[in-house]
């Protein structure tokens, strides 16, 4: 029986913004044929967006802290460093899983895949085409096949003549990228050499891949091209529209390079499509996108991996083949979903320990998905690393030099470097990426632990400090965050505006929104158009229930970046809080339209529908959230409530189980403006033998801090007094019986005067307005919660 095959083509940093324009002009017909006859979607990347980490996540289905590939370089175990290699990977890759099941794989150029593995099939590593020794390019006659770059060895004879050396690249081949190449002084200007090198690399990968496709048996073929990313880093600044600071001459010379690179990749894809039959599933993917418009940064930070600032958060995915939908879009895909999806194409089980999910929406018919606990439990390895007979130091030096040239790592030969410190720096750098990987997965404790270990105040690194402050805020270690902030401020390690932004997060965590507001205002004075600061400001104003101000802030973002999904979500939140649900829905849909994989937007859309009593769309929205994340347990509570309303017993049972899994039980809360009535009510409860926590300190509300971790759990009495303005800080894990002691704002003002020993009957208009606002906000919040029983007293 004829078996279905799967071909995966990886284009590092390919971005739909460019592809769509070229497809519309008929310039990328091959990818268009996949899009027209298959499905397309955005592929969300993960942080940090560094290619070796990302492509390993794509090939394993797990995050970097699980797969072990943590950057561009790694210690070589002999006191030096080498380019990141297959040695670092701690888990099985897709080609190992396929080998175990008896499928043949041909893998070409995957980053990292050197040294190669003894898989069931063939492997050509990412270092196969290196043409330098250290900084020097070797002559064609002296160009050796690197040790450990080809498996099985018999292939060397077959592929050795397929490598293209940059010196072989002729004017004919350069001209489509730079039509006026002859006008350049090539002795002075090395940019044509860059094009020659990238073109030679891409051509070598492609020639080798097509050779294996046509002469070696295979079930799975994966080809990875890094050239598109390197072309983009070198030439995107010249891509139209002309950026500020780029001269007319440079713009006119190099404006076609990125377009040329995309078209050439499409030509290579076209050839591959001609070499497969209709029973082959073809998948084109990229690990992240690349900013090509007004979002291009004007400055690339001079730090390791600084160029990654040019990466956009969404790559591409396009799939066609037997049983795959035609002409449709898929949503919510992430790079972590690639391996589970390939496994599903082969009807192989998916490891429950994989973070990604199979993209079942690609299939025309419902696909049955099988699971196993873990591929790591299989005794067979599916391919061992073929350890080279000799350590090829030249090869390592060459690959390291390429990374230095690209700006991804520091130069060991720079005047300030010595070998020991360099190694230490590399280990720290990788640990920083490890911490970022943990933080991205919401594992802030683990991230902070690493950051505290690598942070060195004698050699401060602002990236580590920023991440440490963010993680300290997330784990509610505000003192630590403040300590770092003071250090950063004292040593002027960052632009003052950015320090203000960080401090505003701490102040917000400490529940001091007014301080946070002042800091963001000051940051905006320095950076009036900074989208991130405007987002923080809008969110803060939403928290402070200043909907008008929040909307203004988000609208400023939309003016600058009409595609910013977070701004639309923010405006939706402002309307939701005001109870204007129709407007809220419209903005949440706008946000989702721009970014489908946005669980919070779906969640709030669900809330808006539920509050409008539109139960079916509400359920649909919450169920979408459920597929995207398990970090919003309140969604299960909503679904339980909604299924109770529409009386679906089966679902009620299902969600009741989930709610009870997450629920920490019911708490009794006493709230209300601080007045004598509240004081009296609490005294009555206490005299009846019940206990009330929070009363002594919170009623007078001087030091109360709801932002402390687990503050509610610490208050273990039968009742807890929570000041009215802190009600929205109650978490979604408990359900609450709220005793709302109602009284007038005048009584609350008098009580406040009494506590603060201010003369009775004096009127403080701003206090009155504030108390009024507290009542409005609390009522609005209570009305929007699914987990509250309210008793008004």
């Amino acid at each position: 029986m004829k078996k279905n095959k799967v071909l995966v083509v990886g284009w590092d940093s390919a971005d739909w913004k460019i592809i769509d324009k070229l497809m519309a002009n008929g310039l990328m017909p091959a990818i268009k044929s996949i899009v027209d006859n298959g499905v397309r979607g955005k592929l969300a990347t993960i942080d940090p967006p560094l290619s070796p980490m990302l492509w390993t996540s794509m090939a394993t289905g797990v995050r970097p802290f699980d797969h072990g590939v943590l950057g561009f370089v790694e210690p070589d175990g002999q006191g030096g460093v080498r380019p990141v290699s297959s040695y670092s990977r701690k888990v099985k890759a897709i080609w190992n899983m396929l080998s175990i099941e008896g499928y043949k794989s041909n893998i070409v150029g995957w980053w990292p895949s050197n040294p190669v593995e003894s898989i069931n099939g063939c492997m050509i590593s990412n270092l196969f085409h290196q043409e330098k020794v250290g900084k020097e390019i070797v002559e064609i006659a002296d160009w050796k096949i690197p040790e450990g770059s080809v498996y099985p060895e018999r292939l060397i004879e077959k592929v050795k003549d397929l490598r293209v050396h940059p010196y072989e690249i002729t004017g004919n081949l350069i001209m489509p990228f730079v039509p006026q190449a002859v006008a350049l002084d090539q002795k002075q200007d090395k940019r044509l050499n860059v094009i020659a090198k990238l073109l030679a690399h891409a051509t070598t990968v492609h020639a080798t891949a097509t050779e294996l496709m046509t002469t070696e048996p295979w079930d799975f073929m994966a080809v990875y091209h890094d050239a598109m990313d390197h072309f983009s880093h070198a030439f995107m600044k010249y891509h139209p529209p002309q950026m500020k600071g780029i001269t007319d001459e440079a713009f006119n010379l190099f404006k076609d390079v990125v377009i040329g690179a995309y078209i050439y990749h499409d030509m290579m894809l076209d050839r591959m499509l001609k070499l497969v039959d209709d029973d082959t599933t073809v998948m084109v993917i990229s690990d992240h996108g690349f900013h090509s418009d007004h979002l291009r940064p004007t400055h690339v930070p001079q730090v390791p991996s600084g160029p990654a600032i040019e990466h956009a958060p969404y790559g591409v995915i396009a799939i066609k083949g037997p049983g795959i939908k035609k002409g449709e879009s898929i949503y919510g895909s992430s790079i972590l979903d690639i391996t589970p999806t390939i496994l599903s194409l082969f009807d192989m089980p998916i490891g429950r320990d994989m973070v990604g999910k199979p993209l079942v929406d690609i299939y025309e018919k419902e696909k049955k998905i099988n699971y196993i606990d873990s591929w790591e439990n299989k005794k067979e390895s599916g391919g061992e690393i073929v350890i080279p007979k000799e350590q090829d130091t030249d090869l390592n030096d060459t690959a390291l030099q390429q990374l230095i040239d690209l700006g991804y790592i520091d130069d060991l030969n720079a005047p300030h470097q010595d070998a020991e410190n360099y190694l230490k720096g590399i280990i720290n750098e990788n640990n920083f990426y490890l911490a970022k990987s943990y933080a991205t997965a919401g594992k802030y404790e683990e991230a902070l632990e690493i950051l505290l270990e690598i942070e060195n105040k004698e050699k401060p690194d602002f990236r580590i400090l920023i991440e440490a402050i963010n993680c300290a805020v997330k784990t509610k270690r505000f003192k630590l965050a403040e300590e770092y902030l003071n250090f950063v401020r004292k040593n002027k390690l960052m632009n003052a505006g950015y320090i203000d932004v960080l401090e505003s997060k701490v102040q917000l965590g400490l529940n001091r929104p007014d301080n946070a507001y002042k800091l963001l205002q000051s940051a905006l004075k320095e950076n009036p158009d900074a989208i991130e600061i405007l987002l923080d400001m809008g969110r803060l104003l939403n928290n402070m229930r200043d909907s008008k101000g929040a909307i203004q802030s988000f609208e400023r973002i939309i003016k600058k970046d009409p595609e910013n999904p977070y701004a639309y979500h923010g405006i939706g939140m402002a309307y939701l809080q005001q109870g204007e649900y129709e407007d809220a829905i419209s903005y949440f849909l706008d946000a989702i339209d721009r970014l489908y994989h946005y669980p919070l937007a779906h969640f709030h859309l669900g809330e808006a529908f539920a509050l409008m009593k539109m139960y079916d769309p509400a359920i649909k929205s919450f169920e979408v959230v459920e597929t995207m994340t398990q970090n919003i347990p309140k969604v299960y509570r909503w679904l339980l409530d909604l299924y109770e309303i529409i009386e679906n017993q089966e679902k009620i049972e299902h969600y009741r189980k989930l709610v009870s899994y997450f629920r920490r039980g019911q708490r009794k809360i006493i709230t209300g403006l601080a007045t004598e009535k509240v004081e009296k009510y609490i005294e009555d409860i206490c005299s009846s033998g019940s206990t009330v926590s929070g009363y002594e300190s919170h009623l007078y509300d001087i030091t109360f801090n709801v932002s402390q971790a687990n503050w509610l759990d610490d208050l273990s009495s039968e009742y807890v007094y929570v000041p009215l303005n802190y009600l929205p800080s109650l978490n979604g894990l408990n359900s609450y019986q709220i005793y709302f002691i109602e009284d007038s704002v005048e009584e609350a003002m008098n009580y406040s005067h009494k506590i603060n020993r201010i003369r009775a009957n004096s009127i403080d208009l701003s206090l009155l307005a504030d108390l009024d606002k507290q009542i409005t906000v609390a009522n609005s919040w209570i009305s929007q919660q699914p987990n509250i029983d309210l008793i008004r007293i």
Binding site: L162, N172, H206, T210, M268, L275
Partner: protein, 55 residues
């Protein structure tokens, strides 16, 4: 170029002359294109060398 022309055939059987300077279309053909180009380039270089020697 040398006496025998370097040609590459498509699926219909049409023949194309392989330019020694190469072309992106040729390289995009993969292994077939790269081999044909390298052959044409080598023959052209050899013929150039022969001409120099004759002079």
């Amino acid at each position: 170029m040398g006496g025998q022309k370097n040609v590459i055939r498509n699926q219909k059987g049409d023949e194309y002359i392989v330019p020694p300077g190469g072309s992106l279309g040729l390289l995009a053909l993969g292994s077939v294109g790269v081999r044909a180009w390298k052959k044409a380039k080598k023959e052209w270089e050899d013929s150039q060398n022969q001409q120099v020697e004759k002079k």
